[in-house]
């Protein structure tokens, strides 16, 4: 999932909340007599509206169209929850000066080739249980993401050092990007029960 999805969720929830607040607030105010006792005593579905609906049936087409539009937005909202910003390829700059034409001296590399190599390297470190590695961002400005699961008593500082000085350093060399932004997320595996008795 991406940062855009997080912003989209905020906007969607905010707009829905605002609509519910406006509709609910109006109904509550009217129900409690905020617009006067005569308004509060009115039926929810007065005869005038019923007559108008019977003579203007085109309104149902507008309701159906609105329903379809809201339905499409809702489906899209649900689908974007599955969206990721994972890169499938990454652009490697072969121009050592880094100032050349975008089209010249650049080559595309499958992202999986790099992330698999990084993941396999970290997996060999003692105390590492599992690794998930992927690239996000733009093909020419990628970000390396490492989700590393450690054993409960793993030597976390040593593993961290090795990740930075070995695995990430190798990825940076491969991409010719010494400042490759990297996000390391650590998790710890459920410890195996080792019941000891010291008495």
């Amino acid at each position: 999932m991406s940062g855009r999805t997080a912003r989209g969720n905020r906007v969607g929830l905010g707009l829905t909340g605002l609509t519910l607040l406006a509709a609910g607030g109006y109904a509550l105010t009217r129900s409690l007599g905020g617009f006067g006792p005569a308004q509060a005593e009115q039926p929810l579905y007065p005869e005038t509206i019923a007559t108008w609906l019977h003579t203007n049936t085109w309104i149902w087409l507008i309701v159906a169209a609105l329903g379809v539009i809201i339905g499409i937005i809702a489906v899209r909202w649900l689908l974007v929850q599955l969206r990721t910003e994972r890169l499938h390829r990454v652009v490697v700059d072969l121009d050592p000066r880094g100032i050349g034409d975008l089209a010249a001296g650049r080559s595309a590399l499958p992202a999986a080739a790099l992330t698999t190599a990084v993941g396999r390297e970290i997996q060999t470190y003692p105390g590492v249980r599992a690794v998930r590695s992927y690239l996000t961002g733009a093909p020419d400005q990628p970000q390396l993401n490492l989700n590393v699961t450690l054993d409960a008593n793993a030597d976390a500082p040593r593993i961290h050092d090795r990740i930075v000085t070995e695995a990430v350093a190798h990825a940076r060399t491969t991409l010719d990007n010494p400042d490759l932004p990297t996000q390391l997320r650590l998790n710890v595996a459920r410890p195996t029960r080792d019941r000891r008795n010291y008495i």
Binding site: M1, L13, A27, Q81, T149, V188
Partner: protein, 196 residues
């Protein structure tokens, strides 16, 4: 080629460490989107039926209309329903406007283009493992609440006066190794429990 010439030059943007992500309100978004979809589809189907047939689908429209006609705005059910709608609206607005909860504990990262974090469950597990490695501790449990690592250990030892200091030292050592940006105060509680 002059790098400053227009077109096709590489942008030199400053490298920043990625931000540790926060929650994304996925559960609330999925629930609201699914409800909107159900309501929208139902409303569309009923509107098309009403336009074509002049009658609703699987619904006794005249009796519903009669019931609505007989219900006034000041009916207690209308007041309650409106209050529920208003409360739901306020809740969704609060959810949208307040920052989402943190999903990770940020760790100090000396590399300027790198960020590191540990999941709360992961942090709890590693601190618990550190406490359980202390001699005399049978089991340990760690809860992380507002900057406090509340550690409860059980021991079969009858004399366990030195145990809190040992556990505190072990948990602090593990925290020092991980080096979270926001420090934790370690509190230890010892429960005596005979070994089975």
């Amino acid at each position: 080629m002059n790098p400053d010439q227009a077109g096709g030059t590489r942008k030199l943007t400053p490298i920043r460490a990625p931000r540790i992500p926060r929650g994304r309100r996925v559960i609330a978004a999925v629930i609201v989107a699914a409800l909107l979809l159900i309501i929208a589809v139902y409303a569309s189907v009923q509107a098309i039926y009403l336009y074509i047939n002049g009658a609703a689908w699987l619904l006794d429209a005249p009796s519903v209309a009669a019931r609505l006609h007989g219900t006034s705005w000041q009916d207690p059910a209308v007041t309650t329903g409106s209050a529920v709608l208003t409360a739901a609206g306020v809740w969704l607005l609060i959810l949208a406007l307040t920052p989402a909860g943190k999903t990770m504990t940020e760790l100090t990262e000396p590399d300027g283009s790198m960020s590191a974090g540990i999941t709360p469950t992961g942090l709890r597990r590693t601190l618990r493992a550190a406490a359980e490695r202390v001699d005399g501790v049978s089991t340990a449990d760690v809860r992380l609440v507002r900057g406090v690592a509340a550690t409860t250990v059980t021991t079969p030892l009858r004399r366990h006066e030195a145990l809190p200091a040992s556990v505190t030292s072990a948990v602090n050592h593990r925290l020092g190794q991980l080096n979270p940006v926001r420090g934790y105060t370690v509190r230890v509680r010892v429960q005596r429990k005979d070994a089975r």
